[in-house]
């Protein structure tokens, strides 16, 4: 298991200094090397959950077993450093880990190549399109050879064609790296296409309503009858769970 959460709760102080429960009794575990998606309405604390898992935010109670050492994250709005070129953005994590310039630039170039952007290494984020920025964000995450890759709605700011291409590349990368991926997903078909397991979260307070395994064989053909049936059944299931 890469990650085990047991009865994890998190609270925020709202404007009136009242404590508001954002995560309540969250328990689940993520097997090493698996692809897990989180789906839920806004207010279900999906982003908060990711931040608690990565220790960017404290949790109020419960236990988290973090069986990973090099987590990386990909963000919905890319969160690239605007003062660094694409290459330096990708090399940032290695730089912070004390890798020498020559070596880290070599690795960063390789990662940019993996996401198909080797020709844009000198460009700054402001000169890149949304899809290109997200690819740089993915390359930055891959550069530190993560054992856990956390992705917060990485496709929701991208158009369909761009996100289809990025999904295909992500699956290829996941197969070759074998890291564990935890992704917040805003589309049920996307979650079914990508994941081994889907966590369905409910809101107010955020909680895990259901864990749904996806048993479709890989590679998954998103236009097959089998896939459409699975989407239909699970969509209905998720809808009923959340109502």
């Amino acid at each position: 298991m890469t990650l085990v959460l047991s009865r994890v709760c998190a609270r925020f102080a709202d404007e009136g200094e009242n404590e508001v429960s954002v995560l309540k009794d969250i328990s689940f575990s993520i097997p090493t090397g698996s692809f897990v998606s989180i789906i839920g309405p806004s207010g279900s604390g999906k982003s908060t959950l990711l931040r608690v898992i990565l220790d960017l935010m404290p949790h109020a109670s419960g236990t988290i077993v973090r069986n990973f050492s090099r987590p990386a994250m990909v963000f919905q709005n890319y969160a690239l450093f605007p003062w660094l070129s694409a290459l330096d953005n990708v090399a940032f994590g290695l730089h912070m880990h004390g890798v020498a310039r020559k070596e880290r630039e070599h690795i960063a170039r390789e990662k940019l190549k993996e996401v198909g952007l080797e020709h844009l290494e000198r460009h700054y984020p402001a000169a890149l399109s949304g899809g290109q920025r997200q690819r740089v964000g993915l390359a930055r995450a891959l550069a530190i050879s993560p054992d856990l890759l956390v992705m917060d709605e990485p496709f929701s700011n991208l158009d369909t064609i761009t996100s289809e291409a990025l999904k295909a590349d992500l699956l290829k990368i996941w197969r070759s790296y074998g890291m564990t991926i935890l992704m917040v997903n805003h589309l049920i078909p996307d979650a079914i296409e990508l994941s081994d397991q889907i966590l369905v979260m409910g809101a107010h307070p955020g909680r895990v309503e259901k864990t749904i395994p996806v048993d479709l064989p890989r590679p998954r053909d998103t236009r097959s009858v089998q896939f459409f049936k699975e989407v239909d059944v699970l969509t209905e299931d998720i809808r009923r769970t959340l109502s």
């Binding site: 990565l54 990386a72 994250m73 969160a79 450093f81 730089h95």
Partner: protein
């Protein structure tokens, strides 16, 4: 360099800057032409150019030193406070200090440092530092939460967060803070020179005013105008355009 592939919005911003630059350049050319015309008619015949140059040199020198000190202090304090987990605690303190009318403090500077260069320079520092400090603190506090998280996850933790994340994040704010700070600096230095009657542009203007030789005052103001314009065009404008291009979202 981004070159021609820059985002359309960034290019629009550039055109806007270019247009404004042309207008400013035109205005400055007009001012210089009028000044030259006046000069050919002997309007500036009575001006003691040697004394004026020396006075302006003194004032410019004080501002340069004061800015260097305010920059070093303001940026370091703001980065350290912005980095520390207890920055909220410092905000009200800085706010009160910033709102003290700076000239009200002049007697204290004179009392402790006398009528010296150091007195004027440190007095100017006490005005220049605030816009820089607040610009940097605000930039750090208003940084997108995701960007903060990205810096943390990819290893900009502890002390190295300052040089590798907070400092580059604050660069545009350091620029704008500096521009405002130096504008305030001219005011502070010239004002202090007038009040303390110390050698420099302030005292020079005051003396000429008393003796009724207003040509000298006009010549002095023109000289300052040209200096400020040149510094803006040569130093700040290129830096601003580079930062707005780089940091555009």
């Amino acid at each position: 360099m981004i070159g021609s592939s820059a985002h359309p919005q960034t290019r629009a911003l550039h055109r806007h800057h270019a247009r404004r630059y042309q207008r400013t350049l035109g205005l400055m050319a007009g001012v210089v032409i009028i000044a030259l015309l006046l000069a050919t008619f002997g309007f500036f015949g009575t001006v003691a150019w040697g004394a004026l140059t020396q006075a302006v040199a003194y004032t410019t020198y004080r501002i340069a030193i004061a800015y260097a000190i305010a920059f070093a202090l303001g940026v370091s304090i703001a980065l350290l406070v912005g980095w520390s987990p207890i920055s909220e605690f410092f905000f009200p303190i800085f706010d009160v200090l910033q709102n003290l009318p700076s000239f009200a403090l002049l007697p204290f500077f004179i009392y402790f440092l006398g009528y010296t260069n150091q007195m004027i320079i440190l007095f100017a520092v006490s005005s220049i530092i605030w816009p820089i400090l607040f610009a940097v603190l605000t930039a750090i506090k208003s940084a997108h939460a995701d960007l903060n998280d990205a810096a943390t996850i990819f290893g900009a933790r502890g002390f190295r967060r300052i040089p590798y994340y907070l400092a580059p994040l604050s660069l545009p704010a350091i620029l704008t803070g500096s521009i405002v700070g130096i504008a305030i600096g001219w005011e502070a230095v010239i004002g202090a020179e007038i009040i303390a009657n110390m050698m420099g542009f302030g005292a020079f203007i005051k003396d000429t005013d008393m003796t009724g030789v207003s040509q000298t005052a006009i010549a002095g103001i023109l000289v300052i105008l040209v200096i400020v314009f040149i510094i803006n065009r040569l130093v700040w404008a290129p830096l601003l355009s580079e930062s707005s291009r780089r940091y555009a979202e």
